[in-house]
Structure formats: C-alpha cells, structure tokens
Amino acid sequence: EKMIYCFYLFDRNGVCLYYEDWNRSKKLMGEAEEQKLIFGLLFSLKASVAQMRPNAGENKPAIEALHCYSTSSYKLHYFETPTGLRFLLLTDPGVPSLRECLRQVYSHIYVEYVVKNPIQPMGQPITC
C-alpha cells in the first residue's frame, strides 16, 4: 500500500514556508526542531552528493544532483528550484521518483497561487 507522509517547502534561508502531514504515526521531536534538522540534513546531503559525482557530472548544476534518498521506512523526494526553493515529500519507500510531481507543484501551484499573490510576503510561512 503506497503512503504519503509529509510535505515541506523551504526557502533558501531555511525558513519553512509550508508543512503538511498525512498518515503520520511518529513525531519524535517538536515541529520547529524537526524542520531545522531536515533542512540541515538536506544541506549537507546536497553538498556531499555534489562532491561524490563522477567527473562527467561536474558541469551539471548542483541543484539537479540529488533526486531522492530512501531508508527502510520512508523515501524523501527532493526538488530544488534555481531560486533556492526546496520542495520535499516523504512517502513510503516503494514509491518511484516523484520529482516530476514536485516540479508540477512548483509550477502549477506555488507559482500560480503564491508568487502571483500580491499580499503574500516572501520569506514568511505561506498562509493563503
């Protein structure tokens, strides 16, 4: 059975602009602490992945490098825009890559409803 657990949206300064969860059975720490931890983890993981790439991948942009990581209990899908917005989705490990889905969320939902919203302040949690 395929499950989706949570969604995070971070801006380039580490501010969590949006968080949503479904079917989540474990919350091991407070929300703010978890957001900082996940942002930090992805920051380091992105840097390590950029370093591990074979030479053929050197000219490709670093934001395209990390696609997803899996553990035995969840899979984290990662999509970063050139402006530094990070879309994260945590799902069941059996799910194939949802990067395209995150790209659609960015272009059809975020850009249409958040960026084009004149009263939404940039860099603060999304309320609309």
Binding site: R24, K26, M29, H67, C68, Y69, S70, T71, S73, L90
Partner: protein, 115 residues
C-alpha cells in the same frame, strides 16, 4: 566487480573510514576528501533515521542522484558498507551483503587484525 561500480567505502561504528577502494579511473577523491565524506555520511545516516515519519527508525539505504547512485548497508554491529555506482545498477544490496560476508570471513577472522 562490474565496471559500473565506482567506489566502495567501509565505515566503522564510530564513523571513521576504514577502507576505500576505487574501481574506476575517474573522480579519484583524495584521501582527506574520502575521510570527510564518509564521516559526514555516517552522521547523515543517523539523522535521517531520527526523522522517520512512520515505521522503525532506520538510516539512509540508498541515495539517488542524476549521475550516480549510492547504496549503504548497515550491519547489526554498526559497520556501514557504502557503494557508489552508476544510476542504472541494480541489486547493490545483495552485492554489499556478499562483501560483508567476505569482510567477516577474511578481516574479522584474521588474528592480526586490530579494529
């Protein structure tokens, strides 16, 4: 070792790199970079386990990137076997288990090996 595997790292329980082997000629990281990378991965493995939304906490098993794939196998004793390979390689988990089996036979049973 198939040509499409690039590097093998073995990390001990404390996070220190104990073995590196490069199988391809390209992107030979120098020793310091390998050490740093392995230790950083050890910490990230632990943090990812703490962030689990459901199920038993477990560390990173695979990382998929655009130009490579990383597979990690953690033994019950805390040793991590990390393999970097090309993205289309499958069955790395079995390969890492076989490597673990060789490690336990030849390294741990070696009377002169100091861990």
């Amino acid at each position: 070792m198939p040509q499409r595997c690039n590097t093998l790292f073995i990390v001990n329980k404390a996070g220190g790199l104990i073995y590196t082997r490069h199988f391809s000629k390209e992107n030979q990281l120098n020793v310091n970079d390998c050490l740093r990378l392995a230790s950083t991965f050890h910490s990230m493995h632990a943090i990812a386990g703490r962030l689990t939304p459901a199920g038993a906490p477990s560390g990173i098993e695979t990382v998929e990137a655009d130009t490579f794939r990383l597979q990690c196998f953690q033994t019950p004793t805390g040793i991590k076997f990390i393999m970097l390979a090309e993205p289309m390689v499958s069955n790395l988990d079995n390969l890492l288990r076989q490597i673990y089996s060789l490690y336990s036979d030849f390294v741990l049973k070696n009377p002169f090996y100091v861990s």
